[in-house]
């Protein structure tokens, strides 16, 4: 077991190096650089950046240096723990991500909890009452959830909330609490605002989980041990919960490893539409403006978490299924 773990960790390193190179290249791929993005942005708003500003910024950001040099600077900085400074905000990347991290994780957690709380009972119900009317309804609703583009759903729900309930679902706090320090009142305010974003973020996942739950449970219920138990007279409820549900949940548990990166990045598109102060919009902005360090470090973090998550998932699987260990 330990050997397997060590082997996996060792393999992680070249992957991470490759990821760092790739992510750096990807950020630099679009034509131009941060400066041209900034100038373009200013022009859009009717402002002209003076040539002086442009020249001084170009030197300051080191954008005249060749690509590999910039990569090297960034990598050595990262190994020392310095994630670099964002061009857009002019503040350290670690601060920017850090201050948004708590809220992001909160939304992700809420959405996962919401998602599983809905999906598991509904999935079980659908499996037991297969082909019933409600089963079709749930299946249909579930499918709708995964087929609507998320940004579209976000916009519709955002507008619906305003039109019918007079709620503006923009941001996570009311303006008064946004600037106030943390307090119980602020926490309550957050709880009031968090449910719609969490719901939208989790919709696609919920639908998918319902289907997986239903499918796996159906598979299990058809198996012979279930029929045997039923013949022995075990009560329906006990029958359901003792084995089949636990086994059906397995595939979902094995995907827990990948939850890490999702929790950190949140759902980018939905956060952008709803204007949430999370890491998602930060990443999108960094990519659009080609903010080298912010985008690069962020992608590295996400990739790193994904790799770690994969290892964790594999570990869980290896622990539960000994055959894989001996591969």
């Amino acid at each position: 077991m330990i050997r397997y773990l060590l082997k996996r960790i060792l393999c992680m390193i070249p992957v991470l190096i490759a990821v760092s190179i790739l992510s750096f290249v990807i950020i630099q791929l679009p034509p131009g650089d941060f400066l041209t993005s900034k100038i373009a942005q200013l022009e859009m708003l009717g402002e002209k950046a003076s040539e002086s500003e442009i020249a001084s910024l170009r030197a300051q950001y080191g954008l005249e240096r060749p690509l590999y040099e910039r990569y090297f600077l960034w990598i050595t900085g990262m190994l020392k723990g310095d994630l670099g400074k964002s061009f857009i905000y002019n503040r350290p990347v670690s601060t920017l991500i850090g201050e948004r991290l708590a809220l992001t994780m909160m939304i992700s957690t809420c959405s996962i909890i919401l998602s599983w709380a809905i999906a598991i009972p509904v999935g079980i119900f659908s499996a037991i009452r297969q082909y019933s009317f409600l089963d079709y309804v749930f299946t249909f609703v579930g499918f709708i959830g995964i087929s609507i583009p998320t940004f579209f759903l976000a916009l519709l729900l955002m507008f619906g909330a305003y039109q019918f309930f007079d709620l503006t679902v923009v941001g996570l706090f009311s303006p008064e609490y946004a600037i106030a320090p943390w307090s119980f009142g602020k926490f309550l305010d957050l709880m009031k605002h968090i449910w719609l974003p969490a719901f939208i973020v989790g919709v696609a996942g919920t639908a998918g989980t319902i289907r997986v739950m239903r499918g796996c449970l159906l598979d299990e219920l058809g198996k012979q041990y279930v029929i045997a138990a039923r013949a022995r007279g075990v009560s329906e409820w006990k029958l359901l919960l003792k084995y089949p549900v636990r086994i059906a949940i397995n595939p979902m548990l094995s995907t827990i490893g990948w939850i890490l990166p999702v929790m950190v990045s949140g759902s980018v598109i939905v956060s952008v539409v709803l204007n949430l102060p999370t890491t998602g919009p930060l990443l999108l902005e960094a990519l659009e403006m080609q903010d080298m360090y912010l985008a690069g470090s962020f992608i590295m973090i996400l990739s790193g978490l994904t790799v770690v998550g994969t290892v964790i998932s594999d570990l869980i699987l290896a622990w539960s299924d000994p055959r894989i260990r001996y591969e």
Binding site: C11, V15, P30, F143, S147, F152, L287, T306
Partner: protein, 348 residues
Amino acid sequence: MWWKFKKHRLAVLSGVLLILLYLGAIFCEFVSPFSPFQRDATLINAPPQKVRFISNEGIHLRPFVYGVSGGLQDETWTRVYEEDRSRRIPIHFFVRGSSYKLCGLIPWDRHLFGTADGGILFLLGADHLGRDLLSRIIYGSRVSLSIGLVGVFLSMVIGCAMGGISGYFGGTVDNIIQRSIETLMSLPTLPLWMGLSAAVPTTWSPIKVYFGMVVILSILGWAGLARVVRGKIISLREEDFAMAARLAGAHEGRIIRKHLLPSFFSYLIVMLTLSVPGMILAETTLSYLGLGLRPPVISWGVMLQQAQNVQTVATYPWIMAPALFVVVVVLAFNFVGDGMRDAADPYH
């Protein structure tokens, strides 16, 4: 397997629907009543017209719509229209309309349905330049529906090749391929798409941009597929029939091609079918972010991007119609894929 598939009614229905939609996409010039560029400046943002059979003159066999009148309201700067009951515009089938080249090759001018003398027929309303939304959606389906298929096809080819080689040969080759797959899969999708799409030079012609987008979308697709293929190959490699083929002197490649792949062909088909919706949704997302395909190219993603604002939702909601089509197509593919999976599963 075909028998079992037919039992799943929803899947069959979806399959038929998809075939119809794809036919519509291929022959879009014929199916749509108008050209997607034809505009009527007096009918900007006109709402959909209701198709009727009964007028105050009685029942008609031929469906018709009423004319439309109205325009800009000075107070609210909104365009408001109402039915003009004095003008009855019958809908004809196989009617002569604007000329076109079917599939860009055959010149013709008959349309599946339309109006006889240039009457207004906006079954899904008109957009902000006064163009028929239904025609634009049908033309747009050509791009949006095909991107999914072509992208998935590309993923399949690359994925099977990589997975097959990796699973069959094992050892270092396997390791390298596996590591690169891992690398690719650990990059977060959104930045990957954004970076690559933004790198597609907008100076390319629409066709080139289209293929560029297909390549980008399939880049992540093949990695997942390769992994699955590899797993299957590994388990099948040791099966007896493979051993027998090897003993008979068959070439490695032949073994992969002729013996291993067909055994999980059905599984492959299911996986591919279920990947198409992902590609279609990805295309809409990228267009929403302003990457990839852009005006004047017509695709559902591009049309959705223009509909993606509160003003449309509140005032001219029919402009969101492409979303409906996206949902229907995605659902249809999912149902078909589910049906196939149920049919192919030997334990069912």
